[in-house]
């Protein structure tokens, strides 16, 4: 529960409102985590927010976060410069089930800022490429200039990850897909035994589950990373309650059937 001090050692602007910050613990200790986990991150007195870890799990010497500036707390984090100290609690939460799905085809379905929480999973899958079947990334963004990690997509592809990218709209200069992620599903030619791990807007994930179902892939094959109002990070305060679960403690990664009943209740 006690925050640790981490210094910003590198910073990169990814898009107009997304930055990646690389942090090192003042203690010098490595930051061990599992893909899909998050930290509670804060800059100065601007408030603490849950941010998924976007770095490589096999390189714990640096804690990497990719953050979109949309509010006071995230804007303060994104404004932090090298040398500034941030407070970090964590890691928290249930990770992606990478060890449990060995041998299966794995689809990573990311929408917009949903790719950073999946990046550690991608890096782990590629580091252990021989343990899995077909690996496929379905990545959707609003426009070409809002896509993340574009400099890495080619390398991932060379290492055995099929990459399909689509954007909601584009001009003539874009020669890739235009359309939503559900349209990629039809062209991906997935086998029924595939495991899907998805993070993105909740609406996108709902449509994704429906599109997968139309291709004969049951929702029990789908894992999603949920976002709610996480505050304590350890299941004490109840702010992130969703039905009977606390997202910070029991999630953020869930199998879709664990949640579908509760997501259907509009008052929750």
């Amino acid at each position: 529960m006690v925050p640790a001090s981490f210094e910003v050692v590198e910073k990169r602007q990814d898009t107009a409102d997304v930055w990646t910050l690389e942090l090192e613990a003042d203690s010098g200790e490595p930051f061990e985590f599992e893909p899909g986990q998050f930290t509670m991150l804060a800059a100065g007195g601007a408030g603490e927010v849950p941010i998924s870890i976007s770095g490589a799990p096999d390189k714990p010497e640096r804690l990497i976060h990719t953050v979109k500036a949309v509010g006071l707390a995230t804007a303060a984090i994104c404004a932090a410069e090298a040398g500034q100290v941030l407070s970090v609690r964590g890691p928290f939460g249930r990770p992606w089930p990478l060890d449990q799905v060995g041998g299966a085809d794995v689809v990573i379905a990311a929408g917009g800022i949903g790719l950073p929480p999946l990046r550690p999973a991608i890096l782990r899958l590629l580091a252990r490429r021989e343990r899995y079947g077909r690996l496929l990334l379905l990545y959707s963004g609003r426009s070409p200039d809002e896509l993340l990690f574009t400099d890495e997509l080619g390398e991932w592809s060379q290492r055995g990850l099929e990459v399909m990218v689509t954007v909601d709209s584009a001009g003539e200069e874009w020669d890739g897909h235009v359309g939503v992620v559900t349209r990629l599903v039809r062209h991906a030619k997935l086998e029924p035994g595939v495991v899907v791990m998805s993070c993105g807007p909740e609406l996108m994930m709902r449509f994704l589950v429906a599109a997968l179902s139309a291709q004969g892939i049951g929702s029990d094959r789908v894992y999603v990373s949920m976002e709610r109002n996480m505050q304590c990070g350890i299941g004490r305060c109840g702010h992130c309650q969703l039905g009977p679960t606390l997202v910070c403690r029991d999630g953020p990664v869930y199998r879709w059937p664990e949640l579908s009943r509760w997501l259907a209740i509009r008052e929750l």
Binding site: P50, T74, G112, G141, R142, S169, R186, L203, F207, E227
Partner: protein, 156 residues
Amino acid sequence: MRTIDELLTDSPTFAGLEPAQLEFIAGCARNEHVAAGTMLMREGEPAERFWLIRRGVVALELYVPGREPLVIETLEAGDVVGWSWLFPPYRWALDGRTVGDCHLITFDGVCLREKCESDHDLGFELMSRFTADVIERLQATRLQLADVHGKVSATA
């Protein structure tokens, strides 16, 4: 070399049709190689043909005066390009441009429409399949309209 009626079964829109129906439809179709940048259809012009993409990508575009065309959607292998030949007033609602070189099966929509009118079983099959395609693309468009990536919060 596969015949057109055999090639049609690669597309979800035509897969599962009776062999005689496939042969019937193939009678209104031909294989075509189309160069990159070709305008297959233009908004407002008569819709007398449609296409099944065998290889390549076709962009559906909206012409906006004074701006570059806005790409609404891209279609690829297995997708059908063009519905307007099937519904009055039989005029294109969008522009369609090949993004790269394409292998297409080009259908004579007027020929096929006449066949549907003389063979209602075939007409019903085609209408059902095209409607399913329209519904899938309508659902995708609804998600596109929701601009979900624009409204996502920061803390994913």
